[in-house]
């Protein structure tokens, strides 16, 4: 895990009315931290999309009264984390099988395709520790995007995966902690 020398913690009461206010607190913090060297508008838009989806996810899926957001800066990256002790992530794979954390049997990196819209396939790869990294595989373009044939539940994950440079989920079975992490690289090579 990358070390962030500068990190703040924001407690979010998981209600939909609180989303705009919390979003603004987060964005204002990022603007303050980057004051002398502001992030470009395109990157700020992506950060806003991810923050909004993390907060929406907390309201819709955690089942908890509170979630914690952490915004971290290092020289190379900005990270957005959302933590709660609510229900672990459940994904429905393209084969309709449910993928539930904690994963019962993970012996090596395993890929699950979970959604495709005809052009992008949203996949998740798990490692030995059960950490799930989301990624996109671009498909050969089809004439009619299959966007309409799937549920909208995957839009949030798709947005966070495509907007972030890295997007991952971890679940600690001992403590029950769930953590989504979105990482944006601040230095391009």
């Amino acid at each position: 895990m990358r070390a962030y020398s500068d990190q703040i913690k924001i407690v979010f009461d998981c209600n939909r009315e609180g989303i705009p206010g919390t979003l603004n607190v987060c964005l204002n913090h990022i603007r303050e931290k980057t004051g002398a060297l502001p992030l470009d508008d395109a990157l700020m838009a992506k950060i806003k999309w991810v923050l909004m989806e993390l907060l929406t996810n907390a309201v819709k899926h955690s089942g908890e009264r509170q979630s914690v957001l952490r915004i971290g800066f290092s020289e190379e990256a900005l990270s957005l984390e959302k933590e709660d002790y609510g229900k672990p992530l459940v994904l429905v794979g393209q084969d309709k099988k449910k993928i539930v954390w904690p994963l019962e049997e993970v012996v090596k990196p395993v890929d699950f395709p979970i959604y495709h819209n005809g052009m992008d396939s949203l996949c998740v790869r798990t490692d030995e520790a059960g950490r799930a990294t989301f990624f996109i595989e671009e498909l050969a373009e089809m004439e009619m995007p299959a966007l309409l044939s799937d549920t909208s539940e995957h839009f949030g994950l798709l947005i966070m995966t495509k907007a972030s440079d890295e997007f991952a989920y971890e679940h600690d079975p001992d403590t029950g902690l769930n953590r989504f992490t979105s990482t944006f690289y601040l230095i391009t090579h």
């Binding site: 989303i19 395109a42 929406t56 309201v59 052009m119 966007l147 909208s152 949030g156």
Partner: protein
């Protein structure tokens, strides 16, 4: 009310009123769209002129509305999208399933 609605000759201009199209109003938007589509119109032009931000919940409602409209031969066009909103639609390829125009006049021009 999420939408300000004007109807002329079975063409509905539906302007989203809130600045944030999000979880807060996604269900209401979906219900209002289904009500409009169900009354026998041929085209719904949804204007995002007031919308500064859209999230996955609202996008989901937009897709539900389109799924409801298609078998009823009702088209849904989107107009006046601000750059952030249009970029998000493009990110998840929704620009491929909705017809998007700069404004009402341009959308109406396709009818002639």
């Amino acid at each position: 009310m999420i939408l300000k609605v004007e109807e002329i000759n079975r063409v509905v201009q539906a302007t989203i009123l809130p600045e944030e199209a999000s979880l807060t109003n996604a269900d209401a938007f979906k219900e209002e769209m289904i009500s409009i589509i169900g009354r026998g119109v041929r085209l719904v032009i949804v204007s995002f002129e007031n919308v500064n931000y859209i999230d996955s919940s609202f996008l989901g409602s937009l897709v539900v509305a389109l799924k409801y409209a298609m078998p009823r031969n009702v088209d849904i066009y989107l107009v006046s999208l601000k750059p952030d909103v249009k970029n998000l639609l493009t990110l998840i390829r929704m620009d491929r399933v909705f017809r998007i125009f700069n404004n009402y006049d341009e959308a109406m021009g396709t009818l002639s």
